[in-house]
């Protein structure tokens, strides 16, 4: 996108609001939807990857140390990873805390 969405005027849109940049949905910050965020105690992590498999957003990746962590640009804070984690690595906390 040439401009942030909030600055696009009606004249900036393509005809029919057609999107001409393939895959630009990746620029959409779904992290804004979040009311809770995951926190991690990696000392308990067994690197099983279940959180990654269950994440409906597909935004959990292994970090440099091999632990699984959500990309907060996309994480909507649903808490499924925390519920599925067999070793209770993940705790959801209210976003403001």
């Amino acid at each position: 996108m040439t401009k942030p969405e909030g600055e696009l005027t009606w004249k900036d849109l393509e005809i029919g609001a057609i999107v001409t940049e393939p895959g630009n949905a990746a620029q959409y910050k779904t992290g804004d939807w979040r009311s809770q965020r995951p926190t991690y105690d990696f000392t308990k992590c067994i690197e099983c990857g279940l959180c990654q498999i269950y994440c409906p957003e597909g935004c959990i990746w292994q970090n440099e140390d091999g632990y699984f962590e959500a990309d907060m640009f996309y994480c909507k804070g649903c808490g499924i990873c925390a519920r599925e984690c067999p070793t209770r690595v993940i705790t959801m906390v209210v976003e403001e805390e």
Binding site: W10, L13, G16, A17, I18, V19, T20
Partner: protein
């Protein structure tokens, strides 16, 4: 040489679509539109028209197939009526919002229930706000001419919108009329190939009808509104070019014997022709009456309409649809709104008549005119008058 032939108007629409060289026709048969797509199916099957004919399982699918077709830049046509138009409803918004040019003839039909296959404008009025350009026609020649104009308008780079051409079910769709068809070369010259600017193509992918959060949706809708309103200038230009090339002239609001007229009748569609014969009779009796016919329904031609009625004392609007529980016929409602802020305006009287194919005879129009004049002088307790219903 252009040739004049006697032909059923529905068949003539098919011939016009053939002359317009449509690439894709996706349609589902429904009375009273069936003969249009039936004839096109024959033309394609017989190899007379090189087009893809997509038989679908419903009108919803017909319009959906038309979206896909128009999105690739193919010249796209469909036709429907009544319930079929209502079944298309949600997809109609998508066609106009994605700015996909296509043409649809609608053989206007009443809505169920009780089931009626006959004509009125209930189907049109229910799709009034779908963002399509909408043109009304009165006779077979006008339908054929406006099929050519509709493709040209729809595909104009400044417009890029779907266009409906309305013809009254049975009263127009099923009558045999003398129609002049232009030569193929004349049509080809008037109607250059469709050049949709952002077609679906694997080499240059685009996303159509994507997701818009509150931060962009209003901008998308306003762009659509500005575009539809601006299309009027292009429509005027194309009608003018058509007039120069083929000698038949169209305008958004057409007046008949309105000079010095104190009383005007406002009509749409084929019943306008009956209204005009009544005006001839009344003029013969020395009465100052005329008819204003609304040809362009969307975008609504505010300026032309106000200009056409400003000197009249009484404007009698005849609607062929009922807005249940509302202020009167849908057309009259818009007319009143268009005139509300004007310093000088006629008194507007609303009639609803001709529902479900009921004729409005010349005597009927005369009664409407006389009763309308009486109401404009004495007033009425009713929001509108229903005409011709047995009491």
């Amino acid at each position: 040489m252009a040739k004049k032939v006697g032909m059923e108007v529905s068949v003539a629409v098919g011939e016009a679509v053939k002359l317009a060289n449509a690439d894709v026709i996706a349609a589902y048969p429904i009375t009273p539109q069936t003969h249009i797509v039936e004839h096109l199916a024959e033309l394609v099957a017989d190899g007379e028209l090189d087009a893809a004919y997509i038989p679908v399982e419903s009108e919803h699918s017909a319009m959906s197939a038309c979206l896909g077709s128009a999105a690739t830049g193919a010249r796209t046509f469909t036709a429907t009526a009544g319930q079929g138009l209502e079944l298309m409803h949600e997809v109609l918004y998508v066609a106009s919002s994605m700015r996909l040019p296509m043409v649809m003839t609608v053989a206007n039909r009443a809505l169920s229930s009780p089931l009626s296959v006959w004509g009125d404008h209930s189907d049109v009025m229910a799709v009034r706000d779908t963002g399509w350009i909408q043109i009304f026609t009165e006779n077979g020649q006008e339908v054929v001419d406006n099929v050519f104009c509709a493709f040209r308008i729809a595909e104009d780079q400044k417009v890029l919108l779907p266009v409906m051409v309305h013809l009254d079910g049975f009263h127009l769709s099923h009558v045999i009329e003398p129609i002049v068809f232009p030569e193929q070369s004349v049509v080809d010259k008037f109607l250059p190939p469709n050049k949709y600017p952002l077609p679906l193509h694997p080499d240059k992918p685009v996303t159509m009808g994507d997701f818009a959060p509150p931060i962009t949706y209003p901008e998308a809708k306003w762009a659509q509104e500005v575009n539809l309103r601006a299309s009027k200038e292009v429509i005027l230009r194309i009608w003018s070019e058509f007039g120069k090339a083929l000698g038949r002239h169209y305008s958004p609001v057409e007046s008949y014997k309105t000079e010095d007229a104190k009383v005007l009748l406002l009509t749409m569609g084929s019943f306008s022709e009956t209204a005009m014969t009544v005006i001839d009779k009344l003029r013969g009796e020395g009465r100052k009456v005329g008819v204003v016919r609304l040809r362009l329904w969307r975008p609504f031609p505010f300026e032309e309409f106000r200009q056409a009625v400003k000197d009249a004392e009484t404007l009698i609007v005849v609607d062929r649809a009922l807005s249940f529980g509302g202020p009167g016929g849908p057309v009259c409602s818009e007319v009143r709104s268009a005139l509300y802020g004007e310093a000088k305006k006629p008194k507007v009287v609303s009639f609803v008549a001709g529902l479900g194919g009921r004729d409005i005879t010349p005597a009927g129009f005369e009664t409407i005119i006389n009763k309308g004049i009486e109401i404009s002088q004495k007033g009425s307790e009713n929001e509108f008058e229903i005409f011709g219903v047995r009491d």
